[in-house]
Subunit: 333 residues, 2 copies
DNA sequence: ATGAAAGCGCTAACAG
DNA sequence: CTGTTAGCGCTTTCAT
């Protein structure tokens, strides 16, 4: 692996000159000299060592991304968005999975600090209690959070409350009076917000909030299945179910079919997320679309502005969109 | 951000001593001195700079992962496996999405070289034609490939041929004589192998290979849907469909339902991958399980052995497993 | 237009 | 048991 010295020697110039053509600095370098250097670089297949450069410049063009689990579609999509804009600006990302475990979050932060990342994007789990944490202090002004609005950090957000309430309103408009809710973990902002949206829409329509109409799952299809079995097993079963994510909605539909309920005739179902498969469930799933990729894009844009000390928006909100399909309306498959 | 000098000063020792307690080298350091250093480290919240260390040691504890697209479940799951073992050994990963585009693959390789990664795991797209490529030469002996068996690099593999053929045999055993195939892109090894498995199983049973029974998609549910519409539209339609992945199988089932075909009575369907939702399709999807997470784990294990110059297996094969569910058998939902 | 030299933060001989 | 010193590969004053 050749270094800048090798190039300099081969081109018969000083390493300073090599550095100059490399960084096409403002410094003018004689065209003929530049040619020689370029040729040497090519012949040696030289690539500048990013570690050395980073050490000196205190800038690595690397950012850390801390998420619960990359195998979760939601986060994978966000990460893709982050990378797409990162690529355009020459940033790479190093990924950390935490499974929402505190000690892993802390470890990740320390680690990213050691690796000298230029910034961090954080999503899922709690980071706010960590403020006294010195690790974060170092990075404090180069952190962007996705999905939490407790302030403290610049954030990219989704209107989960509005989306959930829109979903429930859709059901109410269809004439449903008993609308069940299959919620996600209430420890997460997203989970809590979707429940709030559900409740607020019920209130809006003058329906009482019945504990018997709510069951919490862990976002897996299986938990949705179980929650639905429970909810649909009651004597006064709901005529509609709103699940906090599509995966659980799939489980709920499965449960309903198992109990010989026709969808949407006997039971209407609405999901949340609009995963790629949602339109291929039979009947296709009415759901609330959430712009995952855009969240990642926005977060990375904000982080780059932060790093570059450009003006930036402290909070960027994204709207959700209700997509009506066959699981609530007769005229669709 | 304090450095090793600050710690040394505060503890009244040389930086060498600090380095020693940091790396708990074999070098003995006086317990009392060590205490002082540790205290200083804590007070200053000091963390060693990984860039400086990496520059000197020529080891960064970072590996590069090059995949087509992290938002694809298959790769996300693999990456999770890679990270799980990486975490245990202190390795971080930097992720590169290529969308299978040559120029992006090349760019990724160069970039990882600049960042001085200790090794690379590659999956999806072609890397073999690149061997003359100098970028790869540098890393040549620290590359592990997932899913390609053209040799050249240590590889972690899945028996796609066997899996596909097992799926088709299952259909044949059920008495199906006309079995359609919805394939993936033939440019990918995986896609080609699954087709070969299909064909070999047909041959095994003495069935001819009919072009009219095969339709290729691009692995999306939509393409599966379209392929199925086409295949099922023929006058002599197949009684069973084997899709090269679950996503397309979902699309195929949707198409069948749209055409009022009962599953599995009128049409049996088998998928490939066993994604989490496959058991929540109605009826649940018979499919071929592929151990994605294990692929990542095995790849990372191999890479670590490579880096550590431990003995390693040049090829690690993984078996698939047929999971029979309702889309082919009457007695399941 | 080019080069010499200093130094980013760290580890590893080599001394003592 | 502890310290001094020499770099790892690069960019950047400061000279020339």
């Amino acid at each position: 692996m050749s270094n800048i010295q090798d190039v300099a020697a081969r081109a018969n110039v000083s390493i300073t000159t090599v550095s100059r053509v490399l960084n096409s600095s403002l410094h003018r370098v004689n065209p003929r000299t530049r040619e020689r250097v370029l040729k040497a670089i090519q012949e040696l297949d030289y690539r500048p060592n990013a570690l050395a450069r980073g050490l000196l410049m205190k800038k690595t063009m690397t950012i850390g991304v801390i998420i619960p689990d990359i195998s979760n579609h939601y986060y994978a999509e966000i990460v893709r968005g982050i990378q797409d804009v990162g690529d355009q600006h020459g940033y790479n990302i190093v990924l950390q999975n935490t499974d929402r475990r505190q000690e892993r979050i802390v470890k990740s932060i320390y680690l990213l600090r050691e690796k000298i990342v230029d910034g961090v994007i954080f999503s899922g789990g709690i980071i706010h209690g960590f403020e006294p944490l010195s690790a974060l202090k170092e990075l404090k002004d180069r952190v962007v959070v996705i999905g939490r609005h407790e302030a403290n950090f610049p954030a990219v957000l989704v209107d989960n409350i509005g989306g959930a309430s829109q979903a429930v309103q859709h059901l109410a408009d269809l004439g449903h009076q008993r609308i069940g809710f299959i919620g996600g973990p209430q420890a997460s902002t997203t989970g809590a917000d979707r429940l709030r949206g559900y409740q607020s829409a019920l209130a809006q329509n003058g329906y009482p909030t019945e504990a018997g109409l709510i069951s919490l799952g862990n976002l897996t299809p299986r938990s949705g299945y179980e929650a639905a079995r429970k909810l649909l097993g009651e004597r006064d079963r709901p005529s509609a179910l709103f699940a906090a994510n599509d995966l659980m909605a799939f489980g709920a539909v499965y449960a309903a079919r198992e109990m010989s309920l026709q969808i949407p005739e006997d039971l209407a179902v609405v999901g949340f997320d609009n995963i790629p498969l949602s339109s291929y469930l039979v009947p296709s799933l009415t759901t609330v679309e959430i712009p995952m990729h855009s969240l990642g894009v926005a977060a990375m844009e904000t982080l780059i502005d932060l790093i570059s000390r450009n003006p930036f928006e402290w909070m960027r909100w994204f709207k959700t969109r209700l997509i009506v399909r066959g699981s609530t309306a007769r005229n669709h498959l």
